[in-house]
Subunit: 136 residues, 2 copies
């Protein structure tokens, strides 16, 4: 687990809320996405509609929780390997892996209850030996 | 962030899936709840209906994502303090803090988009200096 993304209806409102809790934005693409460095992982705020689109699901789908978990790995082939493993374990590939605009490579699977996991290689997010993610 | 709980429809099925990914259960209350130790945090699998009940929301509510995030703190008064802070920041107290059957003290707030956070003091989950949770 390296990243949790919360889909939000209003990025500025969500930012105010989490800053109100004393969190500090570590990285921001203004108006688009915000990242907070937590202990060993990163929490991201992203427009709910954009998150649904990224995961390849319909936003209005009653099963869309508006939240995704991410497992970051060290290479693109590892992304394919983990997605294959998830499928063999009984998961469903929701969006096959592809090159991402942000320079990485990622895909999504759903666990048997529909919880969405992104498997990603992001050259911009270093992982330490324990798999902890940092904003670099 | 110390704990993520995924609400599941069938605990045995969810366990098989995550074990199929190579994860090992670190702690289990048989038939009730399972914990996996991840990097610096714990992922828990729990019946979706029980999770909704614990959070004080209706399971069928379309807004219930079947997933909760938890922020563990070092004492019961800190739970109240964090819940107060969340409310002042614009969050909504979903379930006021109370003593829990598992020996701790916890309550829930919702962020402006309805994402559920549990604020908990759990004497059984030690936190290190960075706030990383471990199964002890």
């Amino acid at each position: 687990m390296s990243l949790i993304t919360l889909g939000v209806g209003d990025l500025a409102r969500a930012r105010r809320f989490y800053e109100g809790l004393g969190w500090r934005v570590g990285l921001a693409v203004e108006g688009e996405v915000l990242f907070f460095q937590l202990n060993g992982l990163v929490l991201s705020l992203y427009a709910r509609a954009a998150l649904a689109e990224d995961a390849g699901v319909a936003e209005a789908e009653s099963g869309f929780a508006g939240i995704t978990l991410a497992h970051n790995v060290r290479s693109a082939p590892e992304v394919d390997a983990v997605l294959g493993e998830a499928e063999r374990a009984g998961g469903r590939i929701v969006r096959p892996a592809r090159r991402a605009e942000w320079g990485g490579y990622s895909g999504y699977f759903a666990d048997p209850d529909g919880h969405l996991w992104e498997v990603a290689h992001n050259p911009g997010f270093p992982l330490d030996a324990e798999g902890n993610a940092s904003l670099g």
